[in-house]
Each structure stands twice: as C-alpha cells, then as structure tokens.
C-alpha cells in the first residue's frame, strides 16, 4: 500500500494505514483481556454454539482461547472476517436499527489481531477439512488447511505485545482473570441454552451446563445457599417493553452495586437508569447504604434501543427511557409487594424519611459503602488462590461489575442547602473559635457556625493526596533505614503479591521475603508515623473485598480511602492553631464533589437564623 506516500508535498491528510486504524479501534474495543474475550464469546454465540470453552493463561495476557461448536467459517469468510468492518451480521444502515445479534460492528477480529498473535482454526459443519489462519500484530493473514472439528477455535497469544502502553495500564493477572470470569458470567446469564466452561491456569474455574431456562442458570450463578433466597419476578409489560428476572430477598443485600445486573435484549449492560429503578423498588427494604441482588432482563423492540452507543457495547440508549425505567421498577416492586418472603418490619420507613417515589427516570443517588466488615472478608479468597477444582458459586455472587460512578454523585459532605457555594477559600476564610472534645473544630463565617470533624477532614485531605499520587503525581517517599519484615497470612500475602504494583505506585516499597513475609523498605512520607503493618492489612482486606466486585478504579479508591484513615489526625488529638489553619487551607483544595468511598461527612454549617430559631428569638 503506497497510496498514503506523500507524493504531493502539499497534501497532508492521508488515509491511515489499515494496521494503524485497527490498533486505534483496538484501543476502544479491546481494553483488557476480558474485553477481547467478550468479543470472541459473542461471536461464538452469534454463530449458534451450544457449548463454549474458554482457556486463560496468565490473566489472558499469555493466552486466551475460545473454542465453540458453532457454524464455523469457510476459508473465504474467515479471510474476510479479518478485514475491518467485515461482518456477516449487518448488510445495510437500516439493519443497524434492529440489531439482534451480539456483534455487528465487524471490528473485533481485526482489532484483536492487530494487538496480539492471533490464530483461528475453523471448519464448517459437513466440510471435509478446515483452515488455520494466523495473524501477528496485524498484517496479512497466513492461511493453511487444517484438520479440526466443526466449529471455531480462536487463540490469542501475547495480547498487547506490540502496544506496551496498554500493557502497562493493566492490573495484575489476578484482577484480569477476575474480569474475564465476570465477562463470561454476564454473557452466560443471558444464554442459558449455551454451556460454558472456563479453565484458568489449568484449573476449571467455571463449569455451567446448558440448561433449559434462565432459572437454571441463575441457580448456577448464585449457588447454594444464596440461590434459595432468589425468586423470579412477575413479567411487567409496558407497551412494547417487558421486564422480568430474578430478585433477592432484602437480607441478601450487598455492599456494592455489583449484583444489580441488567440485560437489554439479551445484552449485558451497565445502566444507571435501570439500576436506580431497582433501588427505588427496594426503597425501605434495603438499607440505603446497601444494594439489593437482582438479575433483570428487559426486552423491547430492537429499534427502540440504540446498542451502538459505545464500542464495547455495554451501554445502550433508550428512545423511551422512562418506559424502560418503569417496566423494571414495576417488575421488581410488584413482586416485592406480593412476596411472602418480604418481612416488613414496622420500623422501616420510620427510621428513614419517606422520599416520594420518583415518577420518571430519576437518578437515585448511589450511596456510599457502609462500614467495612471485619477481617473475615478474607474468606473471599482472591481467584488465584482458589483451592476448589470448580468455581465456587457462592463466591461468584460477590462478583460482577458495578456501575460507573455518576458525575452527579454527591460527596460525603452533608452540605446543607443554604451552604455557601463559593468553595474556594471558604475554609481559609473561617474564623476559628475552638475545638470541642479535641474532635470537632468550631469556626464562624459571616453568619453561620461551621463545625468540622478534624479526623474526617484530614482523612479526606490524605485521600485526595493519595489519589493524586496514584493517578500521576508521586508523593515523597520515606525510605527505611531498617526495613520492616512484615508477616501476613497466606491469603493476605497472595493479594499483596498480586497488587505490588499498586502499592509501589503509591510509594510503598515491598519485597517478598520468603514464605508470607515481605520486607517493607519505604513508605509514602505521609504515612511516616502510621502503623504500617496494620495499614497494609487494612488495604489488603479492602482489596480482597472490593477488588472482587468493583471496577478497578473504584476498588483502588476504596483502598486509598481506607489507607487515608491511617495517615490522619485522630479524634482526640489536640491541634495547634497553626495546624487548624493549615487543615482549613488544605480543605479548600479538596474537591468535595469527587467520590470518596468511605468518606463520612466532613463539616456542616448552622446558620444564625437556625440558632435564633432554637433560642426562640424568631
């Protein structure tokens, strides 16, 4: 291809070389091994497979293999499939508005092949012989005849070998395996008629037989004993839209939204609107800081929803969002209303102010995770240390993707409606009065009394510093003169080992020291005086727990927030005036709108008018 050679020196806009275009597309479609896996499985499902087997090595980075017994491809089709925008699933632009297959963009195979060593072995049913097709990091496919069973086997080796930047961005192997398994689970939940097997590092971690209906699949997913507390919903029909699925008893609620799982026309989607519909239905039954468990399927005409909203196809756009919202809410709330298994304690509703049920697609604020559970969280062993041969289904229920944080998600500050909005300089401008119980700092502004929780405030500041450091700006590091040898439990050390890069990015220098021991050689300077062993144990606990369910970013933020507690002044510490001034100045730099996973309220303000009302002056 020489068409892009600069023959005419004045010409500066050229068509991209094919490989570059594919790599750019790969950046959108293939974010991590799990996203490549998802594309391959979708293709297998679209090809009518009845059983799909997945092999994973080193989190999918060394090897990802999907073997199906679907239609297979002819030699010509196989070669064509490697071209960008080649698809058997869409013929015209009109088709784009009624997509029934999972794939349709025709860019997955060439994208994946451009960033890996790609091999496809495929044979049509009834054909005498199949073909083997190889592509290395893009380029022309090499094709040869091959003897193989009917169906398709695609093997991706050394994913991202030629895009080191992407490789660097990836988290540890354990995390990637977890994402791969979640991807399979989400696809499998929508297709009970297809059997799935996942083998990671030679161990079968998921083995779900083909079953007659969704209930059977749900049973595989939740396993005993949780599955006994999962019940089918009624089918809610609203015009052309219908919603149904399975919901958990309120007592099954979880700390994260990972188990609020939704499908639109058989496609797993992460959608805030649908998730909030579920929460609204559970209002007063599940604590505001927790999330119900549910798997819901929304069906609507293919042309009533745009599935082409995102290259990874995990987001959709409804043409009639409130219909979708109401259908889900109705399916869940009608079922809950009639359910004999819902115990309606009279205290519900009195302990919380009753908020009127939104009538439209209202974004219900997602609440913050509640207090952390105890160390028993380590029972949720990381995937790399699962002793059982088969995937532990009861653990599976802790997995899943959570919803992307909403931009309008409120910070943990209970900011009263009449609080001043000029955040900049607000705290610095306060007139500090005194500390109450060496815990609450009292200060005044023009006509209000401001009360700041010193520990919560400092924790918040430390959290912001940590988050910054993790994202880009490294914090100063304090090396040890005498390294500490820290001993962890087997599970803790496995989690730590899997996340060493994360701790390193923050400024912890840790080295395996034999057995479950680690040598701690440096700490972030802000943690100079913290209890390092305890701090790391807390962080690991949080990783083991949140890391199972949340998105990478959310999980790490939860860990940072947990760590922040250690670097912070405590309630009961006496602060000097200078320290208070400094604390206030630092608070001004804090973005209270940002998400802080375990944040508590930091401050509140009482107006003079409120005080006067209390004292009967008004």
């Amino acid at each position: 291809m020489t068409s892009h050679a600069p023959a005419d020196p004045a010409r500066r806009v050229f068509r991209m070389p094919e490989d570059l275009a594919n790599q750019i597309a790969a950046g959108e479609v293939v974010e991590r091994p799990a996203s490549a896996l998802k594309e391959l499985i979708e293709n297998a499902i679209d090809a009518g497979a009845t059983h799909i087997k997945v092999d994973i090595e080193e989190g999918g980075l060394r090897l990802l293999r999907v073997t199906d017994d679907g239609s297979g491809m002819s030699e010509a089709d196989a070669i064509a499939a490697m071209e960008r925008h080649a698809t058997s699933k869409l013929r015209s632009a009109d088709d784009l508005f009624r997509i029934s297959t999972l794939g349709f963009r025709g860019e997955a195979l060439p994208s994946i092949a451009s960033v890996s060593r790609f091999e496809m072995v495929t044979k049509l049913h009834g054909a005498l012989e199949g073909i083997r097709l190889r592509v290395e990091g893009g380029g022309q496919p090499v094709v040869e005849p091959a003897g193989c069973p009917a169906g398709t086997q695609i093997t991706i080796r050394d994913l991202f070998f030629n895009t080191p930047a992407r490789l660097k961005f990836l988290k540890t192997r354990g995390t990637e395996v977890k994402h791969c398994i979640e991807a399979v689970q989400h696809l499998a939940l929508a297709r009970p008629e297809v059997g799935f097997t996942v083998v990671s590092e030679g161990r079968t971690v998921l083995d779900w037989p083909a079953v007659a209906d969704r209930a059977g699949r749900i049973f595989s997913y939740f396993g005993r004993p949780d599955a006994d507390q999962i019940h089918p919903t009624e089918v809610a029909v609203l015009g052309p839209v219908s919603a149904s699925g399975f919901i958990g008893e309120p007592s099954l609620s979880r700390r994260t939204s990972a188990q609020v799982i939704t499908f639109v026309n058989g496609r797993y989607v992460r959608d805030r609107l649908l998730a909030s519909a579920v929460r609204v239905a559970y209002q007063h039954l599940v604590d505001r800081a927790r999330y119900p468990v549910s798997v819901l399927y929304l069906e609507l005409p293919y042309d009533a929803v745009d599935v082409n909203a995102h290259p990874m196809k995990t987001e959709v756009r409804f043409h009639q969002p409130d219909e979708a919202f109401r259908a889900i809410r109705r399916a869940v709330s009608n079922t809950l209303a009639a359910a004999p298994w819902v115990r309606r304690a009279p205290s519900f509703g009195t302990t919380q102010p009753t908020t009127p049920e939104p009538t439209g697609p209202v974004a219900q604020p997602l609440d913050f995770a509640p207090a952390l559970s105890s160390l028993s969280a380590f029972d949720l062993a990381p995937l790399t240390h699962q002793p059982a041969r088969t995937y532990r289904l009861d653990r599976g229920s802790e997995r899943g993707l959570s919803f992307a944080p909403a931009p309008e998600r409120p910070g943990p500050v209970s900011r009263p409606a009449d609080a001043p909005t000029h955040a900049r300089g607000f705290f610095s401008a306060l007139h500090y009065l005194a500390a109450f119980k060496a815990t609450y700092l009292l200060a005044a502004d023009g006509d209000g009394l401001v009360i700041v929780d010193q520990h919560a405030a400092h924790e918040r500041i430390t959290f912001e510093a940590l988050r910054l450091s993790w994202k880009r700006e490294r914090l100063p590091q304090q090396p040890m003169l005498i390294p500490a040898i820290l001993t962890f439990s087997a599970v803790q050390s496995a989690v730590l080992e899997a996340h060493l890069d994360f701790f390193e990015a923050l400024g912890f220098e840790l080295e395996p020291f034999g057995g479950n021991d680690f040598a701690l050689k440096a700490v972030p300077a802000i943690f100079l005086k913290a209890r390092h062993h305890k701090l790391l144990q807390d962080a690991i606990e949080e990783l083991a727990e949140t890391g199972q369910s949340a998105r990478v970013e959310e999980a790490f933020e939860a860990v940072l927030s947990r760590m922040a507690c250690h670097g912070s002044v405590r309630a009961g510490d006496n602060l000097s005036h200078d320290e208070v001034r400094r604390l206030f100045a630092d608070l001004d730099a804090v973005d209270f709108g940002a998400n802080c996973p375990h944040g508590r309220p930091v401050w509140f303000r009482m107006t003079l008018a409120e005080l006067e009302t209390r004292f009967g002056r008004r």
């Binding site: 510093a465 914090l475 005498i482 209890r531 320290e579 400094r582």
Partner: protein
C-alpha cells in the same frame, strides 16, 4: 492503720503512683494503690499494671502500722483539693473504709482488700549497677525521641540499653527511619553489667514513666535486671519495667563508617530555628512535607530550604565544610525533635548523597558522651 503525712509529700507520692494505677489494666484491684505504713515511720505507696510497677515511700508520723488499698485517682483528686498542711489517713475499725482527714475536708473511701494486691518485686538493698542520674537521663532523652510507636514492630517500641564492663552505657532506638545511638562513659565504673552486657529493650512507656518520676536532685540511679524486668531505684522510689522480649535489629550495619572529610560543622540553634520554620510552613496535611539541606563548600554554607505550592523559603547558615557539594530532603520533624535535646551550639552534619543515611553528631558532648543520630532522606 493510721498515719499523718505532709500534704505536699502525700500529693507527690500519689502523683507518682496514679499514672501507673490508672494505666491499661482493667483488673479493678490494679486501679488501686497499695499504701503500707511501717513501724519505722515509712509509708510506701505502690501501684502496678503488670507492665510497670512503681513503689515509692515517704517518712510520716505512723500512729498504727497497717495496709490499705484505695482507688488512686479518686484519692489523688481529693488530696489535691486539701488546703490543710497535713493529712491524716486511717482505716475504719471494720476495715471496709479508709478515712481521710485534712482540716476542713473529711472523706472516706471504700477500701479494697490489700491481700488481693499482687506481690511486688523490689530492688535489692545493693543494686548491681549504679550510675549517675544526670548521665543516664542525658542518654535517655536523646534515645527516646527515636523510639517507634508502631506496635506492629514491637522490637522497636523500646530502647536497646547496654552497659559494658568498662562502664560505657549505651542506648539505641529507632523507628525504622531514623536512629539514635547515644552513649556515655561512666567514670570509675565498677559493678557487674549482667544482662545489660548484651542489652535489654526497655519499652518507651516505661522510659517515659521513669522520666516523669525521676528526681534529678538524686545523684545516683540503681539498676537491676531481674528476670524479665528491669528495676530502677532513685531516692525513695523504684520503678520496675517489664522488658520487651524481642531481638533488636542489627543496627551496626546501618551506621556508616566515620568519614571526617564529609563533616560540616554548623550551628545547632540556627539549624533548629530554620527547620522549625520549614516544619511550620508545611504543617499538617500537606503532602510535600520536606526540608532540604544543601552543603555548599564554595560559600562554606549550609542552605536550609522548603517549598510548598504557595511558599518557598530558604535560609543560609555558616558551615565549616570542605567536602563535596551535596543536597538531600528530609522530614523536618526529625530535626525539630532531635535538635532541642542536644547540648552545645555546634554539631556535625555528615551527608553522603540524596539517598544515603545522613548523620548528625554532637561536637562536644558533655563528659564522656558520644551521640550519633542517623536520619534517612526522603525520595521525591
């Protein structure tokens, strides 16, 4: 039991035992102080929390010998408000109460059974080791600042305390990031160092209690290691401290060899003054808490500086130095904690490079003292 004691003396004794008695133990009897009046006119006050045991005595007018056990903090609070010059303490005839009679104030307290009180270890009549109090406290003050408070590293939560047969008394303490190595030479030492020859780890809490109660007018301090405790005797008081049962890290490996050519002589007070400014400028919560030191042989100067988002500061002080130009950043609190406890106006700073341990040494210690402090620079 009945005795009369001067109010200030009684307060002094109760003050000593109160901190130990209201310590960590949740055993009710340990919140009491055991008071024993002896025939010979001494009254002893004892408190223990199993880690620390403090026994102290005063001379009183003992009317009837005997023993009582009262809640230390309640008792102290009451005596504190007494304005009479003396206090009379007696046991009620049925033994259930302790009466306090101090002029206008009369009070009675429930007494615990003194027999319930645990047995107390006492310092032998003639302790194995006797060293001058002033020398001991000098060493302790410089060591204690480096002791770790992280109970995740128990072996660092105390100071390694050693005594060699030639009378060199040494304390070493570290929190993992910095280290104090302080020693003094006890003139004409004769005695048996015993367990102190190899060293014992004395917990910070015990040292702090010792510091709080020690009487600096007492010329000498007796020391006895007995089983898993070390007992200090000073005047009429003795404090027994349970030792930390762990091995102290091999600190010799982190002490760089002496290299006089790297040594800069600077003013301690100036360095302290500017380190304080740096520490203040970058007070709580600021992520860039760091003070930079730069040795500049051209100008024979030590430049102390700190930067934050909104403030930059630097100060130049004279330095006697002919080595290479070198620069490193540190946690300013290392200096603000260490420098005030050092004597004299001069000290030596020995910097190797931005990543290696930096040494601070006393130039002219008091007789026989030799102190060395190591701080680890920060990395950016």
């Amino acid at each position: 039991m009945e005795f009369v004691l001067d109010t200030p003396a009684l307060l002094r004794e109760l003050f000593k035992v109160k901190a130990v008695a209201s310590g960590k133990s949740t055993l009710p009897i340990l919140q009491h102080t055991l008071i024993e009046a002896l025939e010979d006119g001494t009254v002893t006050f004892a408190a223990t929390d199993n880690e620390l045991t403090l026994i102290s005595s005063a001379t009183a007018n003992v009317v009837t010998p005997g023993r009582i056990a009262v809640r230390a903090s309640d008792f102290f609070d009451m005596v504190k408000s007494a304005s009479a010059p003396t206090v009379r303490i007696s046991k009620s005839s049925d033994g259930g109460w302790v009466n306090l009679d101090a002029g206008a104030i009369k009070a009675r307290f429930a007494s615990a059974d003194p027999l319930e009180y645990p047995a107390l270890v006492r310092l032998p009549e003639k302790p194995s080791i006797v060293i001058p109090t002033a020398q001991f406290t000098r060493v302790m003050d410089r060591a204690i600042i480096s002791v770790s408070t992280d109970d995740g590293r128990p072996n660092l939560t105390g100071a390694l305390t050693k005594l060699s047969a030639d009378g060199t008394f040494t304390m070493v303490a570290t929190d993992g990031h910095r280290l104090s190595h302080v020693s003094t030479k006890i003139a004409n030492f004769e005695g048996d160092p015993g367990a102190l020859a190899t060293g014992v780890i004395i917990p910070k809490r015990g040292l702090a209690e010792l510091r709080r109660t020690i009487d600096s007018t007492e010329p000498e301090l007796g020391i006895e290691v007995s089983g898993s405790n070390v007992i200090f005797g000073y005047g009429a008081t003795q404090l027994s401290i349970r030792l930390i049962d762990a091995s102290f890290p091999d600190f010799n490996r982190v002490i760089p060899a002496e290299k006089p050519e790297r040594r800069a002589e600077v003013s301690r007070t100036e360095l302290l003054q500017y380190a304080r400014i740096a520490n203040m400028k970058v007070g709580s919560g600021n992520e860039k808490k760091m003070v930079r030191l730069e040795l500049d042989p051209q100008n024979s100067a030590l430049i102390i500086s700190s930067n934050t988002k909104d403030c930059e500061f630097s100060a130049t002080v004279d330095a006697v130095y002919s080595g290479k130009s070198v620069k490193a950043g540190y946690n300013p609190s290392y200096f603000t904690e260490l420098l005030p406890v050092l004597p004299g106006d001069k000290l030596f700073v020995e910097m190797i490079d931005a990543l290696s341990p930096t040494i601070i040494r006393e130039t002219e210690g008091e007789d026989g003292d030799d102190s060395l402090f190591i701080v680890m620079p920060m990395r950016l």
